[in-house]
């Protein structure tokens, strides 16, 4: 057991320690996201105040959606790992092919660490701030409320693990596509747009027009943000949690299989750069 899992644990923890070195950048990122969260909240609350009909979400649920979105922003697969891009560009990616490891699993571990390290550094202070400090400052209406129930919290944690896997699978697809495109600048932009719109980061998905809901409910990106945040706030009731988790899991499996397939082709026709 330890001989198969060991290398991946080592890769994940090494990557994690590297990312945790940049504390000043993390602080700047924290302040930026705090500001974004505050502006988004004030905009959504102002719209909400004008609403006359019952809405698909209540205000505390919207507030939780926004703060969780800011806390977990780094986990969304909106960019590629700059280190990985450099590796493809200068040809050192060839070394990875020589390692006595399953290539997809090895890259999955590396990418998982890339996706998960930043959110822990930014996310924990963000949750503390929005849950503890805001009520103390007399801004209780804008605070992140605790999870709707114990079941909702358990479901949230489970969906978060699946969201991390989904984010990794999507990022890895982008990484593998670098084997063809090398620079990947254009793809980065398209990925950002797809992910931020369809995960619910720009506008919470339930607030989109009703005629768009069937499409929004079927696409994979909602497993990244919309599903976990709504389970947390109770907007997705406990009875539906299992179904939503299954939905995300199916998409993880589909994207992992797709990634393996494309990687197989990519390695066969890859041209190593450099000299």
């Amino acid at each position: 057991m330890s001989t198969t899992i060991g290398p991946f644990v080592a890769v994940v923890s090494a990557r994690y320690r590297t990312l945790l070195q940049y504390r000043a950048a993390a602080f700047a990122g924290f302040a930026t996201q705090l500001f974004w969260g505050a502006i988004r909240l004030m905009i959504l609350a102002a719209f909400f105040a004008a609403a006359t009909e019952p809405q698909p979400m209540d205000l505390p649920q919207i507030v939780a959606y926004v703060w969780l979105g800011q806390a977990l922003l780094g986990m969304l697969p909106w960019n590629v790992d700059a280190d990985f891009r450099a590796q493809v560009r200068d040809g050192t990616v060839a070394y990875d092919l020589l390692r006595p490891l399953d290539l997809y699993s090895y890259w999955f571990g590396r990418t998982l660490a890339f996706r998960v390290a930043a959110p822990t550094l930014r996310g924990i202070p963000m949750v503390l701030f929005s849950m503890v400090l805001l009520p103390l400052a007399g801004l209780g209406d804008w605070a992140l409320t605790p999870p709707a129930s114990a079941i909702a919290f358990a479901g949230f944690l489970a969906s978060l693990v699946l969201a991390a896997m989904l984010a990794t699978a999507v990022t890895l697809l982008a990484h593998i596509s670098l084997l063809w495109t090398i620079s990947g600048v254009g793809m980065d932009r398209i990925l950002t747009v797809l992910v931020t719109v369809f995960s619910g980061l720009i506008v919470p998905l339930p607030l989109f027009p009703d005629w768009l809901q069937p499409f929004l409910n079927g696409q994979p990106f909602r497993g990244l943000a919309d599903v976990p945040y709504r389970i947390y706030s109770g907007n997705i009731p406990p009875g539906e949690i299992a179904g939503e988790l299954l939905f995300t899991l199916v998409w993880v499996i589909v994207l992992v299989l797709l990634g393996r397939l494309i990687l197989l082709r990519g390695v066969r026709r890859m041209v190593v750069q450099g000299g």
């Binding site: 700047a28 930026t32 505050a38 502006i39 102002a46």
Partner: protein, 267 residues
């Protein structure tokens, strides 16, 4: 050669350089265009769901959004040299070369690059303003158009000043900090919506400390010809964009303090 002619010469060279890489320019411009349209689509989704925003209509908010995007794009277009100052000039020590030339550093940095991909934000911004203007049935009068142009000029000065301040921080930190994004990108987001929806502290901050509302919300209220729910007078709204120019004056003063403090990295 006088300063203006020199600046034009710099910019012409930069344009010719960028046209050598047409595909990469088009891709980046397209990305900017997409971001701008998504922002507008996000506003539309919220209007579709909630009907109105404390009395403001979609066309009015689109007017705010279009104006600030166009204004920011012009400011960014002219200030690329300041935007990338830390990485390109301080870290490398290349700022020494600028100091040795018999021209002001502000002029040389303004001429660093006329970044064409910013057109991806400028063009949709202008189109949104024009369409919103027509949708609102605003009469096409000289003083309205003139006030909008004055507000945008003040806005360009304002965003240029933010880039200058961001570059000035590099004299102390060497690298550019993500922190200024709060005021640049965050400023565009903030000014895309009417000021009264924000908390009192935010309103004061964006009026008196960083005069974003003076180049966005206040003059635009006068252009739209509506009454300000915050109760400001027309006279104030019309004069407000002056704050953008004053802000630029302060920023250049701070810049010169920073230049005096500069020590080369010497590598």
């Amino acid at each position: 050669m006088n300063a203006a002619a020199l600046l034009l010469r710099y910019l012409a060279i930069s344009l010719r350089g960028q046209l050598q890489y047409r595909a990469s320019f088009l891709m980046a411009a397209l990305g900017n265009l997409l971001n701008c349209l998504i922002e507008l689509a996000g506003i539309w989704v919220l209007f579709d769901r909630f009907g109105n925003l404390s009395g403001w209509s979609f066309a009015e908010v689109a007017f705010f959004c279009g104006t600030v995007n166009a204004t920011y794009a012009i400011g960014e277009l002219l200030a690329t040299g300041f935007d990338q100052f830390g990485t390109l000039y301080v870290k490398t020590g290349d700022f020494d070369r600028l100091l040795l030339r018999p021209r002001s550093t502000v002029l040389q940095l303004a001429g660093h690059e006329l970044s064409l991909r910013r057109l991806g934000r400028l063009l949709p911004g202008i189109v949104i303003v024009v369409v919103a203007w027509a949708a609102l049935d605003l009469p096409l009068e000289g003083d309205r158009v003139g006030l909008l142009a004055f507000a945008m000029a003040g806005g360009v000065a304002f965003f240029f000043a933010l880039m200058v301040l961001q570059a000035t921080m590099c004299f102390w930190t060497t690298e550019s900090l993500e922190l200024m994004n709060i005021l640049t990108y965050g400023g565009v987001e903030t000014a895309s919506y009417p000021l009264p929806i924000y908390h009192r502290l935010f309103r004061r901050f964006f009026t008196f400390v960083v005069p974003l509302a003076c180049i966005g919300y206040f003059p635009i209220v006068a252009v739209l010809g509506v009454d300000d729910p915050l109760g400001t007078s027309r006279m104030f709204q019309v004069a407000a964009p002056l704050a953008g120019f004053a802000f630029l004056g302060v920023a250049i003063g701070v810049w010169q303090l920073g230049v005096r403090r500069y020590t080369s990295t010497g590598s």
